[in-house]
């Protein structure tokens, strides 16, 4: 890819370049803005059409649900939570990688985040939007959803703040707001770059409007640097808190399979696991289409695969501990849930698919060949996404369908409305994502330029331009 034959490595731990060495500010600008200015190709229109059709399914599903009530969904007693909550948790989890990449990697001064953070943050934003739809519809009467918020109503009642479901409302709305602010703050300098390289008056006006009059002033950068760092610092505990609170929805109940203290860390690891997988799934076609291989290099992909491996092992540990604690408790309901119902019950197929996708698949990334092979990692990333969806299905549906009294057991089957809303949110996500790829730089240009300068400085210190490839371990921060 970006590697050239003349590249010599100074640090064997950082073997691949983060930015192809032949760029300067002007060419970076051209390369990274190119996909905004040029007309979208056939591929974009095809995918956009596909996404819009799926979005149509969402409209149909939601309209039908609103007209007839949530009885048109498959969930009923005893399985009162199903696709709505599965998809909610799945989407929120996917969103988490975006924040992790932007915030935690920034705090750890991991320079490889620079090329992928914008992309991942956009993914977060759209995934959380999709996630938010489900609890909203799940309330049954979404037009009364404002009842969830504490406001002085004529009912004279206040929310019950000891309930994890109310915590969820605050966690998700805070997460969405902070992610949007973080994304927009990062975007301001690039919107100014778009304004200043636009060709028509209309483009200049629109991008100028969103750029807020940013002029790259040193006095502004002075505040901007610290503001961005602080937002990252806040997002880091926030992302951990959000999935922790989501896991409380389950862990605080008394149901076998839900009532487990390992849930918060295990959910957070699962979220990061699926989120990184989603980044890989999206970034491989996108970087090809956008011509971004010079800044999203094989090294980025390999690093992400390492994160997938690490978090996959954490998730496997979570499964192991759930089973261990069930055995250790010798509680008949726990034993039944983990050793009989999940592994051999009516949903055993989903369970074993989950094991195959989440426990076995990530282990291929022990091998460098798999970590660097585009086709293999793309298929593996999709497998992980399927696996993580299955995990939420298993947690929610098996535990509810067979709990304590066999007389109250029941089987859950999704209806076409469930499926169309789920596929519809995939369409919503795809539509928003494609619009993002068309109208906004998919890579944080100002940050890449800054990184490029740092790498050049480091190269000069090493006395050779070739050090550009190995300068990723530089000690001073990107911000």
């Amino acid at each position: 890819m970006a590697e050239t034959a003349s590249t010599t490595y100074h640090d064997p731990l950082e073997p691949r370049p983060l930015v192809a060495p032949h760029h300067d500010d002007a060419t970076l600008n051209e390369t990274l803005l190119d996909h905004v200015w040029r007309k979208p190709g056939k591929g974009w229109f095809m995918l956009f059409g596909l996404s819009l059709s799926a979005l149509g399914l969402l409209v149909i599903g939601v309209t039908y649900t609103l007209a007839r009530g949530i009885g048109v969904w498959g969930n009923n007693q005893p399985v009162g939570w199903a696709f709505d909550i599965i998809n909610f948790v799945w989407w929120v989890g996917i969103g988490h990688a975006g924040t992790l990449i932007s915030a935690i990697l920034l705090l750890f001064q991991q320079k490889w985040r620079t090329s992928i953070n914008r992309f991942a943050e956009a993914m977060t934003l759209f995934a959380v939007m999709c996630a938010g739809l489900f609890p909203l519809l799940h309330t049954g009467r979404p037009w009364f959803a404002f009842w969830l918020f504490p406001y002085p109503s004529t009912l004279g009642a206040w929310p019950q703040f000891r309930s994890p479901l109310v915590w969820d409302v605050f966690a998700i709305s805070t997460y969405l707001t902070v992610s949007a602010l973080f994304w927009f703050v990062g975007l301001i300098p690039d919107l100014a770059a778009l304004r200043d390289s636009s060709k028509t008056k209309l483009q200049r006006t629109i991008y100028g409007l969103f750029a807020l009059g940013w002029r790259g002033s040193g006095r502004h950068w002075h505040n901007y640097k610290i503001a961005y760092l602080l937002l990252a610092g806040l997002s880091t505990p926030l992302v951990v808190s959000v999935h922790t609170i989501v896991s409380f929805d389950f862990a605080v109940s008394l149901l076998p399979g839900w009532h487990a203290t390992i849930f918060p860390p295990y959910f957070v690891a699962g979220a990061v696991f699926s989120g990184f997988a989603m980044v890989i799934t999206l970034i491989i076609p996108a970087r090809k289409y956008l011509g971004l291989r010079d800044v999203i290099t094989d090294r980025h992909l390999e690093n992400m695969n390492k994160v997938i491996l690490a978090t996959g092992l954490l998730v496997s540990y979570g499964y192991l501990m759930e089973h261990f604690v069930a055995w250790y408790s010798q509680n008949q309901y726990e034993l039944w849930t983990f050793y009989v119902n999940r592994a051999t019950g009516p949903y055993a197929g989903v369970y074993w698919l989950m094991i195959a996708c989440n426990v076995i698949t990530p282990n291929i990334f022990w091998f460098k060949k798999c970590r660097t092979n585009i086709a293999i990692m793309w298929v593996a990333s999709i497998a992980v996404n399927i696996g993580m969806w299955c995990e939420r299905f298993i947690i929610i549906v098996t535990s509810l369908s067979q709990d304590f009294l066999p007389s109250s057991w029941g089987i859950y089957t999704p209806t076409w409305v469930d499926w169309s809303i789920y596929i519809g949110t995939l369409g919503l996500f795809g539509t928003l994502f494609l619009l993002f790829l068309k109208f906004v730089p998919a890579v944080a240009i100002s940050e890449v330029k800054e990184l490029q300068l740092e790498l050049k400085h480091a190269a000069h210190q090493h006395g050779s331009d070739d050090a550009l490839a190995g300068a990723g371990t530089l000690t001073h921060g990107a911000h």
Binding site: P150, F161, T174, V178, L181, R215, G216, R219, N223
Partner: protein, 181 residues
């Protein structure tokens, strides 16, 4: 009608970020004040060269965060302990551990608002017009140009300042005049 107040700036472009930082420092040592640098990304040593005091954003963020925490604690205590007490499984009406999640979330939310609006407020953004935009060449400041602006009293001779900037290595120097911000 109020007369338009005009504001003038000498703009100088430099070829590299390092040249800009060095020139800024030297101009400041010569006694120029109110200067500003413009670059597509933050300059290393840029704030020091301009002699800027520490940013006030962290303080605003702290105030925001504390406001959020206080709001959340007060809200939950008022609503669930005083105004509408509900006995849920015999749990205490003032159950602080159960209020930790929302307290944390609101603290983060308000701190983030503090950072965002603090940043905009301190930078006086949104500000769609500024005299520096009068120069068409200045548009490179957001892509690949490194600019320095030196305030100049409108109507006075800018030549000495322009000569000094050229001597410091500026590749092009212009004078812009526009409405005062």
């Amino acid at each position: 009608m109020e007369a338009t107040v005009l504001d003038s700036w000498v703009l100088a472009e430099f070829s590299t970020p390092d040249a800009l930082v060095t020139a800024t420092r030297q101009m400041r040592e010569k006694g120029f004040e109110g200067m500003d640098t413009y670059s597509p990304y933050p300059l290393h040593g840029g704030s020091e060269a301009l002699g800027l005091p520490p940013s006030r954003v962290p303080f605003i963020a702290l105030c925001g965060g504390l406001t959020g925490v206080a709001t959340a604690l007060a809200m939950q205590t008022w609503m669930n302990t005083i105004d509408y007490p509900l006995n849920i499984g015999g749990r205490p009406l003032l159950s602080l551990p159960a209020w930790v999640p929302i307290t944390f979330e609101l603290g983060v939310l308000f701190a983030a608002f503090g950072i965002f609006f603090g940043l905009l407020g301190l930078s006086r953004l949104p500000q769609p017009y500024h005299p520096v935009f009068e120069s068409e060449e200045f548009r490179t400041a957001s892509t690949h140009g490194y600019w320095l602006s030196v305030p100049q009293a409108t109507g006075t001779d800018a030549a000495p300042v322009m000569d000094q900037l050229k001597a410091l290595g500026a590749t092009q120097v212009t004078l812009v005049t526009g409405e005062k911000e």
